[in-house]
Every structure is written in C-alpha cells, then in structure tokens.
Amino acid sequence: MRILKLATAGALALSAASFANTAQAEDLTLCWAAWDPANALVELSKEFEAESGHKMSFEFVPWPNFADRILNELNSGGKLCDLLIGDSQWIGGGAENGHYVKLNDFFDKENISMGDFADATVYAYSTWPKGTPNYYALPAMGDANGWFYRKDWFARDDIRKAFKEETGRELGEPKTQKELLEIAQFFQEREIDGQKVYGAAIFTERGSEGITMGVTGALYPWGFKYENTPGKYDMEGAVNSPEAVEALEFYKELYKTATPPGYTNSYMGESLDAFKSGQVAMAMNWFAFFPGLYADPNTGGDKIDFFVNPPQNTEGSTLGGQGISVVAYSDKQDAALEYIKWFAQPDVQAKWWGLGGYSAHNSVLNDPGFKDSAPFAGDFLLAMQNVKDFWQEPAYAELLLAMQKRLHDYIVADKGTAQEALDLLVEDWTEVFQDEGKL
C-alpha cells in the first residue's frame, strides 16, 4: 500500500512538473527576410528549441516585399512577430513609434555588453538616437555591399594579354572605382568560350531600395555626406557636392557601358542570376550571399573571388545587415528576450558564423583564424571598418523613396543631369524634414 502511495505521489509530481514545463513553453515567431542567412538561422535555432523548450516558427518575406509587409504589420500593432530582424534603417521608426522594446534594462540584468560587438554594428543596428546608449536591438547580422568576380577569367592568359594591350596594366582586382569601371568596360560584350559576356551586374531596382544601395556604393568612396554638420540636417552642399555629382555620373557610366542588356530594374536576385549564369565578369551584392556563391557548383570554388568595394577619394562601403529586436506588441516578450540572451552568447555566435550567418561579435571577428575561415572573411572585416548607412530617421521610407525616384530618373530614364537629380533630392529631403519638424 505504501509503495502504491509513493508511486501515486511520484506520478502526480511528474505530471505537475511536465505541466509546468508545458505552461512555460512558448511558440515564438521570428520575422526576417527570405534569403540564405535565414536558412542558417533556422538551423541554429534548433539548439535554442532543445535548450529552452520553446518552439520557433519563422516568417520569412522576400526582400522586395520585406519592408512593405513587416512595416505594415508593425504599424497596425500586429502580433505576428515576437522577434524581428529588421533592417538597420528601421531603428529610428521602431524606437520612436514604440514598435521595439528598449533593451537597456534587459542587457544590464543579463550582463550583455554592447562592447562585445563591433562598434560599427552597434552604432548602426542598435542605437537610437544614433550613437547614444539607447539600445533597441542586438546586432544580429553584419553585412555590407561587396563585389565578386570570375577569378578563372581574370587568370586566363588570352584575356590578361588583351587587357594589358587595351589598358597598359595588369588585370587584377580593382584598387579604385575607376579601375572597376575600366575592367567592366573591358569585359562588356567580349566573347568568352563562344558566349557573349558583360562587364558587371549592379543594382538598378526602382521599387524598394535597390538603386539607392547600389549608387551609395559609389557615393561613399567619393566622400558623400548626408549633412554638413551631423544632426543639423543641413544638406545643401553635402548631398549635392561636386564629389557626389561625379560619383553619380560614374555610376551612370557604369550602368550605360558595362551592364547586360535589359538590366533596368535589378537587385540582389538579378545580380546573383547574372553571375551564376556566366553572363558577367563582376557583380555587386551583399556579403550575406557570398557563402552561397562560393559553394555554387558552376561558378563557385576556384572560379570565384571576392573584393571589398574599391575606394576612390576615400574608403567606403554601403552598410547592410540587421539587428534583432523584440516586438513591443508581442505577448511573449519574456521568451523572446530569452532567445536574445541565448543568441548573444559567444559560442552561439561562433556557430552562427560557421553556418553562414555574419556574426558581429568581437569574439568571432577578432579570432586570429577568422580572416582565413572563408575566402571573403578578410574582405568582410575590411568592409565593416568603413561602412556607412542611409538615413535611419523615422521618416526613412519617404527619404528612401525620394532618392529611388531621383536616381532612377537620372540613371535609367536619362532625365536631367546628375547635378539636377541631387539638387531635387535635397529639395525632397528638405520637405520631408520640414514636415517632421526638424527643419
């Protein structure tokens, strides 16, 4: 009888314990863009599920619709996402409109130090107002716009000889933006193995952010600034400076003389397709895609190499990447914070890099073996030292769409001059900041 009582008590205790576990376990939804690193995160998160008992679901939205879909969700106070890896430019709106949970107290409580992450990523992905110790995200995915090229073509004797004859110098990775243009023009409509190839795949997309991300890759090396004095919104003479005009004219020349036909509305997917199908000698894209490109059976491996966005007057790369935030409308904020705590651990960050995600944790980036851990790792470090981002203001969407229009009008639709395009952009942005009450 005593044994029976003990067994009954044990069974009750077990069922109570399991009930307690079930009650705490949550079904968390993480929202992000649908791209290669997202698949790596699914793999990585399995470990979190095993450790915490929480179940992870994912909502991945293709890049062209990512901003539309997720910002609509946030603006309507939707509960779809508990965790969001939102674009860096959203941080201002996320913070000011109350979409993101402020993480300072949580970081203090859990001893998560922002000093453990690369400075550029903390500044860009986590802080609002910019540079202040007010954190709304943990750096999740470091990224920048870089370049890759057909190493096998660059190594061919006949091509090298032709290039030397044409330009008087050796064919190799470009050291300046103008060298890049020269190489792209050299390959334009050249016949290689019986196929007509083209110079470079660049960003020209009109609808979301494509052409702005591409053009800033030229503007930053020319020394482009958004304001004369940071925080004053005094854009006249900075946004439309002679250097900015020159950079814009350069990008137009690159587009007109060295890209495949019909390349009028192209972004990440089109750039990858053009390269993988053997159409272009060089292409720009985000570092996030480089592991996949290197692994490609047709154009990866020995056939590909990578380089950081070349300098001109100065070094400069367009920032990509995102931080991970807890959505303020989520009913499962505690579990979401648990995920962030787990994700911030150095060993998880190391696994993240190993799976193809770009960790921004110093323990990963400063590891002596990091540079040689992948053919693009060294370039990634270099790029992250000189990254610049677009406006991160709450009105970023208006600012971005104005730039998309002015750039596409000038570069693709041949409307006006570079000077006029940038002057009009200053007018557009001034109007936006006036509406915002900042001017």
């Binding site: 539309d68 910002l71 609509n72 603006n75 709106g93 000011e96 409109n97 109350g98 009109r206 609808g207 495949p260 036909p261 019909g262 390349y263 009028t264 509305n265 709450p394 969407a397 208006e398 769409l401 229009k405 596409h408 009008d409 000038y410 693709v412 639709a413 041949d414 409307k415 509406d435």
Partner: protein, 315 residues
C-alpha cells in the same frame, strides 16, 4: 402579381411568423429587408469616404500614430495640384488610357466582325481569342516581362526577325520611349477579347431583316456598314469603352508587375503613384486628398460619359 397569387403567397407564410409580423406596416417590413444592406453600404463605402475626406485636410501619417494630428486646411490639395510628379503620373495615365481603349476598340470590333461571319471553326477561334482575359493580371505581367527580355525574350526576337534589328539592341521595359507602349501592348493583348465579346453581342443583336431591306434598296456593303452596323453597335461599343476606361484608370497590378512604374517614373500611373504615397511613404493625409481628386475625376468623367451613352441609346 395577380390578387390570387398574392393571396396564395400570404397564406403560405407560416403562422408563427405571420403572428410576429402582424401589425407591421409594409414600409417597416421593407426597411427590415433593406436595412442590413444600407448599413453595410454605409459602413463599407460611405463612412470610409467621409473619413478619407476628413483625413485629406490633415497631416496624418498612418505609421506615426503617436504624432499629433494637425488640420492643414487645403494645403494637401494645393501641394497635389502644384506637384509636377502628380501631373506626370496623370499624363502617363492619360496616354495609357487613350491608346489602350483606341486599340482595344479597333481590334476588338474587327475581330467581332470577323467572328460574326459564319465559317468553319468559328467557336474554336472565339475560345482561343478569349483565353488571355481569363488569365490573372499578375501572371500576364510576369510572363510578358520574360517575353520582353532583350536577351531571351520572344517578343524581341520576333521584332528582330521582322525588322532585321539586333534583338538585344532595344529594351521594351527599360527604355523611356518604349516602356509606355509596352504596357499598352500587354493590356491590349489581354483585354481586347472583352471588347470583342461586347461587340459580338451588339452585332448579333442586329436583326437580319434590316440588312435584307437594305439589300432590296440596293445599298452597298459599305453603306450598310456605316448606316446599319456602326449605329446599332455604337451603344455596345460605348459600354465597352466605359468599362475599359474605368478599369484602366485604376490600373495597378499589371503595370507594377511589368515595369514597377519605371524606368524612372515613366509608367508610374496615378494608382501606382497613389499607392506609393499612401503605403510606402505613409503620407496618409496627402494621399487621401489625392484619392479624393482621382475619385472626383473618374466620377465626373463617367457621369458625362453615361449621359452621352443614354443619348446615343435614345436615338
């Protein structure tokens, strides 16, 4: 309804229902039936319209709900009417509207006239011609982007074959000159069958005896065409123009899929411009004013047109 039938219907009403509605006037019963519909109409159409008018006088932004809303008077309307981008989008819409309707009426009527002749395989040809309008605009937009692709697109190859030009020497979607025509071509391809069907209905409604009488009077075929066929089909044609006009004024999906409004803003029709202002820039007050202006324009034009249509029908 005869008195007997009315009596039969009244007797058929179950007793317990009859008891409940006993004492209710006809007007009350009518309101009970019509009420839900009127409520839905007010909730779904009228209230949003009034709300939009209200928003059009504010600086409200739907993505900044924490920000104070200020009434700005007619500033949004003033901005729209002096905004060159709005006028450019209206010009692009007018170009698209005029040429799509022109080609669709021309080709649609010609096809209907040919199909109306009795020949072998008539039904099969009708089915084949009607196929494009059964497809989704998103699908049509997507596959035409491939057809227009300068390197692999069939359209470019056909043009190259006919003209001797290099297929990749022109870009239908990327050229400022050609892009407005590229969307006209696709819309014409897709919706000409619709106009054809309406014209066909018109042609088949003309009684044979009118042509027979004309034959007796020795009227030539050309004379018969201009004095019988065209006037009798005209109300149908005008109806087709009205339908296509309203549809194309708010055209969005097909053009977004094809050009996204580009290159630059060359094919940014009014509806695309409105969507960008409302749901990408989140200028809710401004876009409400733009929506009201577009609504008044369409409503005004449609009213004038319907009056003209009724006049033609009266004749």
């Amino acid at each position: 309804m005869s008195e007997k039938t009315a009596e039969r219907v009244a007797n058929a009403t179950p007793v317990h229902i009859a008891r409940k509605i006993k004492g209710l006037s006809d007007r009350t019963i009518a309101w009970i039936f019509v009420g839900p519909t009127i409520f839905l109409l007010l909730a779904i159409n009228i209230f949003p319209l009034i709300w939009t008018v209200n928003l059009s006088f504010t600086n409200f932004k739907a993505n900044r709900i924490n920000r104070a809303i200020d009434y700005v008077g007619l500033r949004n309307y003033e901005r729209i009417l002096t905004d060159t981008d709005v006028w450019l989008s209206m010009q692009a819409t007018a170009h698209f509207l005029f040429w799509t309707i022109f080609f669709q009426v021309l080709i649609g009527f010609t096809l209907a006239w040919l199909i109306n002749k009795k020949f072998k395989g008539n039904d099969l040809w009708t089915t084949i011609i009607v196929l494009p309008m059964m497809l989704s605009p998103a699908v049509v937009g997507n596959f035409w982007t491939f057809l227009y692709q300068p390197q692999i697109g069939l359209f470019n190859y056909v043009v190259a074959f006919l003209t001797g030009r290099d297929a990749s020497s022109f870009e239908m979607l990327g050229s400022v000159d050609l892009a407005p025509w590229s969307i006209v071509i696709v819309d014409t391809w897709m919706w000409t069958p619709f106009v054809m069907l309406i014209c066909l209905a018109g042609l088949r409604s003309i009684p044979d005896y009118i042509y027979e009488a004309a034959e007796v009077d020795r009227a030539s075929k050309l004379r018969q065409f201009f004095t019988i066929t065209i006037p009798m089909v005209l109300p149908f044609l005008m109806l087709a123009v009205l339908f296509r006009g309203i549809e194309n004024f708010k055209m969005f999906d097909l053009v977004v899929q094809l050009t996204g409004g580009g290159p630059g803003s060359t094919t940014e029709l009014a509806s695309i411009h409105l969507k960008r202002e409302a749901f990408e820039k989140w200028r809710t007050g401004y876009s409400s004013a733009l929506a009201i202006i577009l609504f008044v324009t369409v409503f005004g034009l449609a009213s004038i047109y319907v009056k003209a249509l009724n006049k033609v029908k009266g004749k």
